[in-house]
């Protein structure tokens, strides 16, 4: 192993998780034992790694983070519901008209068609005007 390869391998070791660093090869250790320059490089890299690990300690997520996030989500859910309320009202009116039509149909069969038609007409007008108001 030449010095260049040894230095590359030393740099590689610092990429490993701490638990696996003991797996350094015998060849590397032999080289370090006999090469002052590489031993110095290894010791400097080790000091640098320790300094970086100390300065860049992984921060923990603040304690109230999830509570705040869930509050934001709840607020957004409510505002979404409020936005979709008019659409729900229109849908409910349409269902009501359809149900009334079904209820009034036997009256039409019994000869009271005019009254039934008038009732349906009035309901339809009410729904249409509410739609117009929504669009306005």
């Amino acid at each position: 192993m030449n010095c260049g390869e040894v230095k590359d391998q030393i740099l590689e070791i610092f990429d490993w998780a701490e638990g696996t660093r003991a797996k350094t090869s015998e060849k590397l250790m032999d080289h370090l034992a006999g090469c002052v320059e590489c031993a110095r490089f290894a010791s400097e890299q080790s000091a640098l790694d320790a300094a970086l690990a100390q300065a860049l300690t992984p921060p923990e997520v603040p304690v109230g983070f999830r509570v705040g996030l869930r509050r934001h989500i709840r607020r957004e859910r409510i505002s979404r519901m409020l936005v979709s309320l008019p659409e729900l009202a229109i849908l409910a009116s349409c269902i009501a008209v359809a149900l009334l039509c079904v209820a009034l149909l036997p009256m039409a069969v019994a000869g009271e068609a005019a009254a039934a038609m008038a009732a349906v007409y009035l309901l339809e007008m009410a729904v249409l005007s509410s739609l117009d108001e929504e669009e306005a």
Binding site: D8, L11, E12, F14, D15, W16, A17, E18, F41, E44, Q45, A47, L48, A51, L52, A53, Q54, A55, L56, T57, P58, P59, E60, V61, P62, F65, R66, G68, L69, H72, I73, E76
Partner: protein, 177 residues
Amino acid sequence: MEVPILMEQESRLLESLDRKRYGEAFEYALELYEKKVYRLAVMMLRDPGRAEDATQEIFLRVWRSLKAYDGRAAFSTWIYTIARNTCLSMVRAEQLRRTEAIEDTTEPSVPAHTADGVDLERHMQALSDVQREAITLFYLQERNIDDVAAMLDLPAGTVKSHLHRARKILNESMRKP
């Protein structure tokens, strides 16, 4: 072992998305990525308080757009893209604000001195942006190169070579008086 647990949670997350159980999927996403996203935000914004706000915004965006996730990219790539874009918007907004304000109150991401008196902040200035980001994230993400690669949208090999170059540059910089 932590890794198999994480892989199991990741597969549960994808399964929930497949079954359109978005609430459940969001809980798994929060469990898996909350810490990593927060640390990415700390690195990008250099301020833990703002990083918390950014992380809230990131997860709100994730919650809003979970239905739109189509599985073309890995979930981690998707969430880190949202995280990076959100942080970049905040950085730009801050830069804009600072052009109007006189004082710059942003805290440094790296403490100025370690306990041994090493002036890391000064030595880190010798690095390029990507080298500084790679080495900062490497330590903030507990030496996980795959996570750093996904966060920077770079291959793991490229991250390693940035780390090696950064270490050499820092070493040379520290040798100088």
